[in-house]
């Protein structure tokens, strides 16, 4: 399972994880290849689905969202899909998924303040098939470390980018 990446593809990913606007010329120089090679390889990384694109990471606080919270939801098995559908339509829910383990559903919300969080919580709790909801408010640093992803070992046979 999973795509094979060669050293150039890995160098591109590692550079763009730190700064998505990193210059291809600089990456090319560090890999000792042409800028054209880097730009073609990057297109291939996107085309094969290894990357979904590039984005800027915004600070929710700058947009008036002071509070990040996650919910662990318990629900009847037969209604999980229905609840997920309900959650996906809620404007403050940025992530929701069915889980195994402690909860049936895990969801993440970005809200203006604690009062707003309570509204969201009440709305979820108001769903007739939700049995229990546990709320955790995230405080302090919310650290994002995309570079903690281990990439597959460089591979010589049929890596991304070979024509």
């Amino acid at each position: 399972m999973g795509a094979k990446l060669d050293e150039i593809a890995i160098a591109i990913i590692r550079a763009l994880q730190k700064d998505a606007r990193a210059s291809f010329a600089a990456i090319a120089k560090s890999c000792n290849v042409s800028v054209d090679t880097i730009s073609k390889r990057f297109k291939k990384i996107e085309k094969t689905g290894v990357a979904r694109g590039t984005t800027v990471l915004l600070n929710p606080k700058s947009f008036g969202y002071d509070c990040v919270a996650s919910f662990g939801i318990q629900a009847d098995f037969s209604h999980i899909e229905e609840i997920l559908h309900f959650l996906k339509k809620m404007p403050h829910i940025v992530f929701s998924t069915q889980t195994m383990g402690r909860h049936s559903i895990f969801a993440l919300a970005i809200v203006k303040d604690v009062a707003n969080l309570n509204q969201v919580r009440e709305t979820i709790k108001g769903h007739p098939m939700v049995r229990e909801i546990i709320t955790s408010i995230w405080v302090n640093e919310i650290l994002l470390c995309p570079e903690n992803f281990d990439l597959p070992q460089p591979s010589g046979d049929n890596p991304i980018g070979q024509h």
């Binding site: 399972m1 999973g2 795509a3 990446l5 990913i13 763009l16 994880q17 730190k18 700064d19 998505a20 606007r21 689905g49 290894v50 990357a51 979904r52 694109g53 590039t54 984005t55 800027v56 990471l57 915004l58 600070n59 929710p60 700058s62 969202y65 990040v68 919270a69 996650s70 662990g72 940025v94 992530f95 929701s96 998924t97 069915q98 889980t99 195994m100 383990g101 402690r102 909860h103 895990f106 993440l108 970005i110 546990i134 709320t135 955790s136 408010i137 995230w138 405080v139 302090n140 640093e141 919310i142 650290l143 994002l144 470390c145 995309p146 903690n148 992803f149 281990d150 990439l151 597959p152």
Partner: protein, 154 residues
């Protein structure tokens, strides 16, 4: 933030590599204006950074998990491992992509990516071995849904 800032943010959220010249010509201003605005947005902390959004499944990660961690109360915790120290350790761990202190049912929360069950267990054991970690609950999922990557990339 004015409309120029919002346009820059919106464009770069969709594709962080959009050239400043392209944004400038769409807004009918000079590229220098866009560069200055972009730098200011970063300085003010509105834009925290930029990154490539990987598809975990394509690089061999079949599942994700949330680790809900409880730490020992200071009384039982002779070495006074505080939550900041544990958070720092967590975020340096391979495969942990988001971590935060939390108020509510647990003290800390971390989200990680795992290749398979064996890997998931290994990550869990690694977290359990951090001094000061008392208890942990885990929920995991395999369907990696697309998330609006505005504030978080999961």
């Amino acid at each position: 933030m004015d409309n120029t800032d919002l346009f820059i943010i919106e464009t770069l959220t969709k594709d962080a590599r959009t050239s400043f010249r392209q944004i400038a010509s769409a807004l009918n201003v000079s590229p220098d204006t866009i560069i200055d605005r972009y730098n200011a947005l970063q300085e003010k902390g509105i834009i925290r950074g930029s990154t490539i959004v990987l598809n975990p499944k394509e690089i061999g990660y079949g599942s994700m998990a949330v680790f809900m961690i409880d730490i020992s109360p200071v009384k039982e915790n002779k070495n006074r491992f505080d939550s900041s120290l544990i958070l720092e350790t967590l975020i340096k761990m391979r495969n942990i992509i988001v971590a935060s202190k939390t108020v509510g049912d647990h003290d800390l929360l971390a989200i990680g990516v795992a290749k398979d069950f064996r890997h998931l267990f290994a990550i869990r054991n690694e977290i359990a071995a951090i001094p000061g970690v008392k208890d942990m609950e885990v929920s995991f999922w395999t369907e990696i849904t697309k998330l609006s990557p505005k504030y978080f990339v999961i």
